[in-house]
Symmetry: D2
Subunit: 283 residues, 4 copies
């Protein structure tokens, strides 16, 4: 039996829109998720949130549980961070997305967040994926550092096949040989994924490049190649970021970047590309 996979398109224009708060991933609009690598304090997150509101962004990210190479590095504020995220969510009306790394953390985060993020290191943590397949919140699934597109889509399939259709894919750079950039941003993969699946695909230029100055140009390239959204690390004071300081851009840089993102989206005729056939889920 050669049954179709859930991630496959049923017809060439098949496109899913995943709703997270007021964001519609997969719609003609380029959704920009932004926020700090780690939630550090209410003040920090509030300052980011104010800017996002002003700029018309509807989704904030912030790490509560941080997967770190070393057990001795800052591991995130955990529960405290979740509560800060929740307050921002309530007060500002922003949708909240945060990374979870275990079934236990899903339960901890459930009441506080609008979308779960699965990081690269857990892309093939199949038990976690199966658990997420049973949740009724959207999942942002990041590509593993050395995952083929086949493996990436099959990881999504673990979630979809359990019944949760709200999956957003995220390209965030793959591991390669050149120390000139942190990872290699694989934008052709975005174009290829759009052929292979109806799921929305966003790009994280921050983790992909690991360098502040490279974030704006690669963000624009991501839009030009057809990404449905971006996830960009920002910090009110990037140099003082507790984690990933080199790649966080300032709120001013984000502000100057957004009009260019819109301009590029318009240049490629995005409204016309994304057709009426899109199916909205997660309302």
């Amino acid at each position: 039996m050669n049954s179709q996979r859930c991630y496959e398109k049923k017809h060439p224009d098949h496109k899913t829109i995943v709703k997270v708060g007021e964001c519609h991933f997969g719609s003609p609009h380029i959704e920009v998720i932004s926020g700090p690598c780690s939630v550090e304090s209410f003040e920090q997150l509030y300052e980011v949130a104010l800017t996002l509101k002003k700029l018309g962004c509807h989704c904030i990210r912030g790490g509560a549980f941080k997967p770190r190479t070393s057990p001795y590095s800052f591991q995130g504020l955990g529960e405290t961070a979740l509560q800060i995220l929740d307050t921002i969510r309530e007060q500002m009306g922003l949708a909240v997305i945060t990374e979870i790394m275990s079934q236990e953390q899903i339960q901890q985060a459930e009441a506080f967040v609008d979308c779960y993020q699965v990081g690269s290191r857990n892309m093939q943590n199949f038990e976690l994926l199966k658990s997420l397949g049973k949740q009724d919140k959207p999942v942002l699934l990041k590509r593993g550092l050395s995952a083929t597109l086949e493996e990436f889509l099959m990881a999504a399939e673990y979630i979809l096949s359990e019944g949760n259709e709200q999956v957003i894919l995220c390209e965030r750079g793959i591991r390669s040989f050149d120390p000139a950039t942190r990872n290699v941003l694989d934008l052709a993969a975005v174009a290829k994924l759009k052929e292979l699946t109806h799921l929305p695909i966003i790009v994280d230029p921050s983790h992909a490049t690991g360098q502040r100055s490279l974030v704006p140009p690669t963000a624009l390239a991501a839009v030009a190649v057809g990404a449905d959204g971006l996830m960009i690390e920002t910090h009110p004071n990037p140099d003082h970021s507790i984690s990933d300081a080199e790649q966080a851009i300032s709120l001013e840089t984000l502000e100057s970047l957004l009009p260019k993102i819109d301009a590029v989206a318009q240049a490629i005729g995005r409204e016309e590309i994304i057709k009426e056939e899109a199916v909205l889920i997660g309302v």
Copy 2:
């Protein structure tokens, strides 16, 4: 503060011996773990166990929970497999090692196994590593598909720093560009790891090469480079293996390989290399 990591050698000859049943990983003896990719039936495992006993191997592996790229592939016999493993363990006196992918599976497997295996995909599943750090059984930690040695050792540190010192490292091939072999077996990494850590290091030539005919020569090379042991997939009838059929060797091939392994170990003067300074843990 620049405090020493748990995995680091305290002096050049510092070497840990991790005991799993009658196996002493890190001792002068090359320990060979063998068995099928998946536990398929009692008969299958019994046949393998009989051969291992005859050949003087003390540790059998067999998958109960299988991490598979596709959710539709065979996922292992689970609980049933654990019970088969336990019976073999009781009847044959072999130590049992099996892969676990979640905290829940640790609990399920606890009563039945002698050593937990963490697969490549979960090398940076930090919540799992922390849980294993609180167990009192040895952990076989496989290198991630694109993990640097620094990341590999830091993953071990997650276990060690929680108090469990019984960690065996396993090189099993890294992802690369050439489809000629499934992965690229990184044997220089074994030599390098021996400089960087006191932990025992074994090699899995089966997953590294993905081809039956390449297992014996790479197993011998692993011994020559200084590995403390091998993990080799065997099957009574390799062509009928449910998973990873192309890489499992027959019991006859294993039988003919073992004397060569001993010969190479002797040729490199292994007894003399592994000094008296070794510290036995896990008794």
Copy 3:
């Protein structure tokens, strides 16, 4: 002595414009080089040339000497191809670019071409680079399949340090693990190179992706990230291309792509980005 390299910027806005016929690589205009992988016949090249003229492109590419993995594959028409290129050049007023692989081929091509191309496989053919450093024609230098940016720039330095300043860099994909695309197009490298060097940088989306349908989106992404030009394989009848048939786009596709390229260039404010400080060479 820590003397500055020729490829390094002397001040942040330092930018070189390399002139090839009427093309100005490094100027605000996105220059598009196009043409077939191999020159197959006068008719084939003439048809491409007609379209390029109509579309306002000034530079045609076509392989005379083809570097092929197998000695038994079509190796190019050689001298015959050079003469076809020369006729097109004379009749149509297009600048001609072709790959050379040896000092002998430089001499053969000299009278017929406007720009020499060095392919990925020869990026570190240092004797060839030194010879090109003594020529007075521009050189298009493609990045090697696994070249770091440091190595890429140092390869350019071999040409520059011999006195030939007319070097155009070309990102064309690097080798990686995923068979989903032929190579991985490294667009962040383009942004990074623009920080490191004053030399113009173009992108070849055809060799990078190896798939016709992926060429337009990645071409647009290349423009968005800041590339100074594109090299795109076209064929009057792509399916009948003797070499690289899967990646050549039709002339119709090229025609529909060019306005989008202009739109994206405008969207990122390219005219304003490329400042007056640019130094024109090769006039």
Copy 4:
């Protein structure tokens, strides 16, 4: 027509022995080529040569023309180095191998050397390969940094198909992501190549690892996996080596390594493996 390639085995035991001076690559004996990265002086090379003679090695290597990433790095003594190599060859009766990078260098080196070496960067310098195919001296062909085995063998085919059957393949590490070693030594590739071709295959553990301390264990592993020989960088005073100082081992280390190499060769029953079917060429 699906004609057989020259590199393919005509029957399973088909094995070619390539003779370089008194060395027989592909015979049961593990041939060890050694010498400095660059020829620096007569005294330096003489000291190495004396040791090689004493140890029973018959082949000395030394760079006259050095391919260097930077045009400003030491490029080798050129003609002077060739004359030093020739004097050593005459006085000591050692076969001489040196790298050439162009047709011109082939001619320069012809009178002075017994075997040409093609470096990794030139593995797909097809014009060079074709020229070597017309010479009557053996060629040592190193695998490209990111060459698949298919590409490696096809590069050999360029030489073989022109009539020169004296090709020795050399695995020397491939490019990968981990800075822990300079490259990744791909020993499974050696085992795979032995299945695919009758040509002799040697291993260069020096360039593969880039670290002195890793050379002996990986050299032994290379023998265990079935390599027909080794190419090991030595220097009378490694710390003062002009190029590649970190990877050159001392003559004393070489002396202590050779008996272990013999022991491992014996342990894997090398004499019995290499059968009588071997065809000697290059006498």
